[in-house]
Symmetry: C2
Subunit: 182 residues, 2 copies
């Protein structure tokens, strides 16, 4: 059961976490189709039919992105608006995601401790990213537990220990995918 991983990062070449994750995913081409929206659609014009066909060809869908401003990158929201059409993703004849697993895998700048009622954010990541859960519910997908990696805000702070955490996160991500998208 192959998993489609839709990666949306506006600047992945300068990223640390998402780039590491993509490198890991690409080592398993039999299991994952890595689909990077910003490199596929640099002009921002999404091929809706192609996207719908990709979804139809896969049993599991993962949306992978960095969280900026507590939300997804703009091109992923555009993907939702344009690809999740009435009669395909929802509506009485819209069953594209029925019986499919759908979930998100995200990197976040702030430490995990900040994402709590007592932390500076004040809400959990699940509460913060509720729009994705609600979207999954609306299209009758089987929403999976979040995969989250809390990193550090500035590149200056990427010392050796942080780099090791990022490297380890790829293994954690793979284990997560093995658990929930088998």
């Amino acid at each position: 059961m192959k998993t489609l991983v839709i990666v949306t990062h506006p600047n992945i070449h300068e990223s640390t976490v998402n780039k590491t994750w993509v490198q890991m995913l690409r080592q398993h081409p039999d299991r994952f189709t890595v689909h990077e929206l910003y490199s596929e659609y640099p002009d921002g014009v999404i091929d809706v039919e192609r996207e719908q066909a990709l979804v139809e060809e896969h049993q599991n869908i993962v949306l992978q992105f960095p969280v900026y401003w507590f939300n997804c990158p703009p091109l992923l929201k555009q993907w939702c608006d344009e690809v999740l059409t009435y009669g395909w993703a929802y509506g009485s004849k819209g069953k594209a995601f029925e019986n499919k697993k759908l979930g998100i895998a995200v990197s976040l700048g702030a430490p995990a401790s900040e994402y709590s009622a007592e932390g500076s954010v004040g809400y959990t990541v699940a509460e913060t990213l509720r729009p994705f859960e609600l979207t999954a519910n609306y299209i009758s997908a089987n929403y999976q537990p979040l995969f989250t990696f809390h990193t550090i805000d500035t590149y200056e702070s990427y010392d050796e220990a942080a780099a090791q955490l990022v490297a380890d996160s790829a293994g954690d991500y793979l284990a997560h995918l093995n658990t929930y998208y088998a």
Copy 2:
């Protein structure tokens, strides 16, 4: 104290609610600056300096948009990513929104009753749109209560009674702005 209303609607000419609201706002040019992102930036290239200057010239900021997939239109997310820069909107020297009021005014397809623990959405609008509250908090803006208008999903359903509700909503919106952005 003039209010900047940043309107983000990918297709406002075919909209009902947001167009009605913009028409109302434009009747009060002494009080509101209506700034429509999709008409200002049809190619999706945002003039960051101009946007920052606009924010600086106003005491109150309202983000007005239709909620699709429980979230804002892509160009508004892009605006957040590009305009809310370190050292301007946040960081020790980033004080652009300090002492400014910021809030959202949104139209939603589903009836209000669906936005509750018992309804089909399962969460309130405030819970659904938490990313905007968290963004406001992060930039130290004074986040205002939501203005929400629940409409109906399909244009076919816009009978006379519905049209009257939309017309009335413009008055409600103005009253809301008078209350929270005076």
